[in-house]
């Protein structure tokens, strides 16, 4: 089909161009209207819409019946928020014309893409003359060298070429050209078939320093959301919009819906995103155009180089002029922070210059000592230099001594009150400042897990996202990587606005959808934050691991590989987050519980009204508890693993209900193992699971509670491992479960931290959560592990009291192996696991996850406990003071907070005006029968 159209186009072009001289063509092109900037919109965050006008196509046939009002439609596209309009100009197969292009452009202020079949360079000036701002070049129609030539010819005419590919080979040819826009068409123009996944598959082969457009195959918004997360900058949509009706209102509404799907989540939709977004500094600005580019791109800071003798250095008057311009353009107090770069200069002098220039920050790039910071009145970015990546394996594990030495240097500067940030850069003794070469990746990784740092050295739009995914740095810095590649003349390097825009966009998007947060203000032992390759946690890596029958090892290794893959796959997390938003009701509310706070204060003998207590309302999530976060994530993962059957264990029934729900939604077979004792205690949840189509299997072995349900689920898994994924419900079990479940639950704390920052401007003094296996606790607390100002408290179930039957694995247990990992558990001298007891089925578990064990052992998390009686009282307190009936599990945390306020605990007391974040992990409906029974017993 393509060859047919191209052949006919050649004939037509010969006729149209007959007798027109090159000079005449050039004149025509020059007479065209001023080109509209085609890239600036695509450089903004998110996926943008290129809306297409076409009357018919060989694959779809006629797309409009009757007359098509091109101007009307173009206006509707612009009204709906499209970033560009694509117009078919080919007549024979698509019914288009150059007049359609002119009409569309005249009706809007958007750039217009000429969707033509360019077979001859002489077509380009005519298209420009008609007003085209962009032009489509099909890689399939040209040998590589001609394609490269066409790209240059188009650019010279002011036409931005969009080079379209449909295969890996065509993509290689496209990437070899200077094209800044590359389109991947899911439709094979020869066979006219559509492979809807093609664009996503090929995306990672397009270097990040190009803008990338996905084309064809859009049926719904989900596809656009995936494209956004996968790293596309625009979607070209035709058919779906042409079928949206003919009246302007329908067309613009449909356009707006597609535009909306490509937008990045707002802070309200994804409060945790802020902590995943790096600080971006554009350094070495030398002239106004570069300054404008950095401002337009929305950089967080721009650097003015004040180090004499370096190629981007400025005289003080030049710097002053750039500062004046920046303030004028951005508005006083707005816009990026202005940073002066100094090296090896007297600190008092640096301070004086910085004040004269009116800078916001000073960057010290020499070998300054920590004392130098005392003499500077502004916040300081201090550069720590390391040798550039050697020729060998930059990825290799760095020497422990080198990492320790860097961390120690960092620590010394962290003690300075005006330290703004630390920056790792490569250095060479012979050159002041950075070398522009990459840091050894292994070293950067190791340091960044222990201290919060910015990365500098050799970053470009093409590599910045990869660097940020690899290294948990909190910021990035670039100078040479965003400059013009072939400078117009001698002199100082100048910034390329498109590269500046791309750098900022790629850096901001790098971790936007991923579950990782790079925020460790305090050096934290890596063993408290992430497991090692064998899944071990703790300062001495003494917790976690994989203690399972050999039959499960290959499934665990497969699961680990899949987990590692999705951990880096933005599309997975974007899909999950979207489900969270539209299905679960995320973000869940952060509720300030003043009446509960006052009641707790009164009971503690304090004067009410001082404590500020916020509840993270996971009870409002779909199915009534935090468990859905994990269940949905693992159900999506099950699909990735290609498995159709899911098993799960449940204690309180909340995880069972959540898994049954996720399986119903994603069409998976589901079997839930539940202890006979729990089935009795949690009858309503058993009915809910059955209503959702799940088979509930009763477990009568052992204590007939959660621990035995896990044993039974593992036995099922051993038997059916080839077809079945085991959705473990807590942050326990063999590696990678503790890490996987933590990643899926940390949304609780990530959201809460951002929500709290929004209303209080700071993090809590105390984050407190109930602990059984610990998924809710690790979900809430993870975000704060590296925040030294935040106390972490886990509340265990003391059952009938710590001297009687209880479920307090940390307070009353010792390290051992349960359910596949080494952690604290209740056991006797011979290693027999003891039965736990708690009125709350969700806490009635003799173990606790390895990461919480590590945090406890390292003293980072304190523990409290609450008895059955105290928990029941906690339910009543919250219910009567705030009208919220909590589940028995978080009621333990409420009770323990009361005891802490009253000073009745072994841990340090809480100040009167403390800011407290409490994880309200679930609602109490499931416990009403248990509570009624308890009240009945209490009466007798």
């Amino acid at each position: 089909m393509l060859d047919e159209i191209a052949a006919r186009r050649r004939v037509d072009v010969e006729r149209e161009l007959a007798g027109r001289s090159p000079r005449e063509l050039a004149r025509a092109a020059a007479s065209g209207p001023e080109p509209r900037d085609a890239l600036i919109r695509l450089l903004r965050p998110g996926l943008h819409l290129i809306a297409e006008i076409k009357r018919r196509s060989p694959s779809a046939g006629a797309l409009v019946s009757g007359r098509l009002d091109v101007a009307d439609r173009a206006r509707a596209y612009q009204l709906g928020g499209a970033s560009a309009i694509s117009v078919l100009v080919e007549g024979h197969s698509f019914g288009g014309s150059i007049e359609d292009l002119e009409t569309a452009r005249a009706a809007t202020s958007l750039p217009v893409l000429a969707k033509d079949f360019v077979v001859d360079p002489r077509q380009l000036p005519l298209l420009r003359a008609a007003g085209a701002d962009l032009v489509l070049l099909l890689a399939a129609l040209h040998p590589a060298r001609r394609l490269a030539r066409l790209v240059v010819q188009a650019r010279d005419l002011g036409l931005e070429p969009l080079v379209e590919v449909h295969s890996r080979r065509e993509l290689e040819a496209a990437v070899a050209t200077d094209a800044r826009l590359i389109g991947i068409n899911n439709r094979d123009l020869r066979a006219l078939t559509v492979d809807p996944e093609l664009a996503e598959r090929l995306r990672e082969s397009v270097p990040d320093d190009r803008l990338v457009v996905a084309e064809s195959g859009v049926r719904d918004e989900a596809r656009l959301r995936r494209w956004r997360a996968t790293g596309f900058d625009a979607a070209l949509v035709g058919e779906e919009l042409m079928r949206a009706g003919t009246d302007a209102a329908s067309v613009s509404a449909r356009t707006a819906a597609l535009v909306e799907a490509g937008r990045v989540p707002t802070p309200a939709e994804d409060p945790g995103a802020a902590a995943r977004t790096p600080f971006v500094k554009i350094c070495g600005i030398t002239e106004p155009r570069g300054l404008a580019a950095a401002l337009t791109a929305g950089a967080d800071a721009i650097g003015l180089n004040m180090v004499p003798g370096t190629k981007r250095s400025l005289e003080e008057h030049e710097a002053a002029e750039l500062v004046r311009l920046a303030r004028a353009w951005a508005g006083e107090g707005l816009g990026p922070k202005l940073v002066g770069i100094f090296a090896g200069r007297d600190a008092a002098e640096v301070d004086a210059v910085a004040r004269r220039l009116g800078l916001d920050l000073v960057q010290l790039s020499g070998d300054e000592a920590p004392e130098a910071l005392d003499l500077i009145g502004l916040p300081v970015i201090k550069v720590l230099h390391v040798a550039a990546a050697p020729g060998g394996d930059a990825d290799a594990a760095p020497s422990v001594a080198l990492v320790d030495e860097l961390v120690a240097r960092a620590q010394a500067f962290r003690a300075c009150s005006n330290l703004f940030a630390l920056m790792l850069d490569t250095a060479d003794a012979s050159v002041p400042g950075g070398t522009g070469r990459r840091l050894p990746a292994g070293l950067a990784r190791a340091v960044a897990t222990r201290v919060s740092v910015y990365l500098a050295g050799g970053l470009t739009p093409a590599n910045v996202a990869g660097a940020l995914r690899d290294v948990s740095a909190v910021g990035v810095d670039v100078a040479g990587g965003v400059e013009e590649r072939s400078p117009a003349g001698p002199g100082r390097p100048a910034k390329d606005p498109v590269r500046v825009g791309l750098f900022v966009k790629r850096a901001r998007a790098a971790r936007l959808d991923l579950p990782t947060v790079a925020s460790h203000p305090q050096p934290v032992d890596p063993g408290l934050v992430e497991p090692d390759a064998a899944g071990r946690w703790g300062r001495e890596r003494q917790f976690g691991g994989r203690f399972v029958p050999e039959t499960l090892m290959s499934a665990l290794l497969d699961l680990e590989a899949a987990y590692r893959a999705i951990r880096r796959e933005p599309g997975f997390w974007a899909e999950l987050r979207e489900l969270g938003r539209r299905y679960v009701g995320r973000p869940t509310a952060l509720y300030r519980a003043d009446r509960l706070a006052a009641e707790l204060e009164r009971r503690a003998g304090r004067s009410p009204g001082r404590l500020r207590l916020y509840l993270k309302r996971e009870d409002l999530a779909h199915t009534g508890a935090h468990k859905i976060n994990n269940a949905l994530g693992q159900a999506l993962l099950t699909r990735r693993l290609g498995k159709e059957r899911v098993i799960a264990e449940t204690g309180a029934g909340q995880h069972g209900v959540a898994t049954a729900t996720a399986c119903a939604l994603l069409d998976l077979e589901c079997v839930v193992y539940m202890g006979a004792e729990d089935i009795r205690r949690q009858a309503p949840n058993v009915l809910r699971m059955r209503a959702l189509g799940t088979e509930v299997r009763e477990v009568t072995s052992g204590s007939a509670t959660l621990k035995d349900a896990i044993n039974e689920a593992m036995r099922d898994w051993v038997t059916n491992v080839a077809t079945t994924h085991y959705v473990l419900g807590s942050a326990v079990g063999p590696h990678p479960y503790p890490a996987l479940v933590r990643d899926l639950q940390r949304v609780i704390g990530d959201e809460a931290a951002a929500q709290l920052l929004a209303v209080e401007g700071r993090l809590p003094d105390l984050a407190i959560a109930c602990v059984g296996g610990g998924s809710n606790a690790i979900g809430l607390l993870s975000r704060f592990i590296g925040e030294p100002s935040v106390r972490l408290i886990g509340v265990e179930a003391a059952g009938e009291g710590l001297t009687g039957r209880h479920a307090a694995a940390l307070a009353g247990g010792s390290p051992g192996v349960l359910h596949g990992s080494r952690s604290y558990l209740l056991q006797d001298d011979e290693g027999q696991v003891l039965e736990a007891h708690s009125i709350s089925a969700g806490l009635d578990y003799p173990g606790i996850g390895p990461q919480l064990s590590a945090l406890f052992e390292a003293g980072r998390m304190e523990i409290l406990s609450a008895t059955d009686d105290e928990a029941i009282e906690g339910v009543g307190l919250l219910a009567r003071s705030e009208g919220i009936v909590p589940a028995l599990e978080p009621a333990h945390a409420i009770a323990a907070l009361g005891a802490l306020l009253a000073g009745k605990t072994a841990v340090a007391p809480l100040s009167d005006d403390a800011l407290v974040l409490l994880g309200l992990s679930g609602r109490g409906d499931k416990d009403l029968a248990a509570i009624a029974e308890w009240m009945e017993r209490a009466k007798r």
Partner: protein, 291 residues
């Protein structure tokens, strides 16, 4: 080699107890000698299993001795555990009955000691779960007690070489062999790695699943055993689901040893006391392993 050459008494008991201090010559050597002896006899080694303390301490001892006397080449002694997640219903129930009737690790070790004293020629291999060794109050103490009681080796159902280095080292220092398991789900390169880390014998699990009697053998088990044996420097014993003399006959050509557990426990009847019936099954199984 002395073990292999020792003539066998008519009643199935070994001859003179000339190597009563088995651990001193190394548990692994004793185990390998037992496999060699069976092979020299033209058989796969018969490895039955008794649950310590099931249904009670004295019956368990009678069961163990009856198994030896029925012709066991090695004897596995199960250590009852609260959370036997690799076990099917039979062994779960036996474990829990034993614990309810007062079984403790110490008493299980006493049983090992008594059986060893009574039948010192038969290598005894304890089978349990990793927390019995790593958890509790004293990690290495258990291994020492086991060695002192006369055991030759140890199997931990939830320990793989990935986590096993420490236990291996401690066991080796005490002259105990450590046996790991391979299963049909173990990828080929892993099978080799596991086999090379076994000091006594390698335990080949016949199926993907838990312990327990089965009516039929897993399909492809012959090929699986052939592949495992090809890469294993240590003798390979097959277990899980092996229930009848017919199973034994079919497996014997493919393995150096055949392990039977749940079927023997089932044969003790629900009350766990029909030792004669179990011994009869054991003799039949033993007789089925000729090649």
């Amino acid at each position: 080699m002395t073990a292999a050459a020792t003539p066998r008494a008519a009643d199935g008991r070994r001859g003179a107890p000339d190597i009563a201090d088995a651990p001193s010559i190394g548990g692994a050597s004793a185990i390998r000698a037992a496999f060699r002896a069976a092979a020299d006899d033209g058989r796969a080694a018969f490895i039955p299993y008794a649950v310590a303390g099931y249904p009670d301490a004295s019956t368990a001892e009678a069961v163990a001795l009856a198994l030896v006397d029925a012709g066991a080449d090695l004897l596995e002694i199960g250590l009852p555990y609260s959370d036997p997640l690799a076990d099917g219903l039979t062994l779960q129930r036996a474990s829990s009955v034993a614990l309810d009737h007062g079984a403790t690790l110490k008493r299980s070790l006493d049983l090992v000691g008594r059986v060893h004293a009574a039948r010192p020629r038969i290598p005894l291999v304890a089978m349990g779960y990793v927390n019995q060794v790593l958890g509790g109050s004293d990690g290495t103490g258990v291994l020492r007690d086991l060695a002192e009681a006369g055991a030759s080796g140890l199997i931990l159902a939830d320990l793989t070489p990935d986590e096993g280095a420490g236990v291996e080292e401690n066991a080796a220092a005490l002259g105990l062999s450590l046996t790991y398991l391979v299963t049909p789900t173990t990828p080929p390169e892993r099978r080799t790695m596991i086999a090379e880390r076994c000091s006594g014998f390698l335990y080949a699990v016949s199926l993907a699943g838990v312990t327990g009697a089965r009516r039929s053998l897993a399909p492809g088990v012959g090929r699986f055993l052939t592949e495992v044996r090809a890469v294993s420097p240590a003798p390979v014993a097959v277990g899980f689901g092996v229930s009848t003399p017919e199973h034994g006959r079919r497996l014997a050509p493919y393995a150096d040893g055949v392990i039977v557990a749940s079927a023997l426990v089932d044969a003790l009847d629900p009350d766990g006391r029909d030792v004669d019936r179990m011994a009869q099954l054991a003799r039949n199984l033993r007789a089925s392993l000729g090649r």
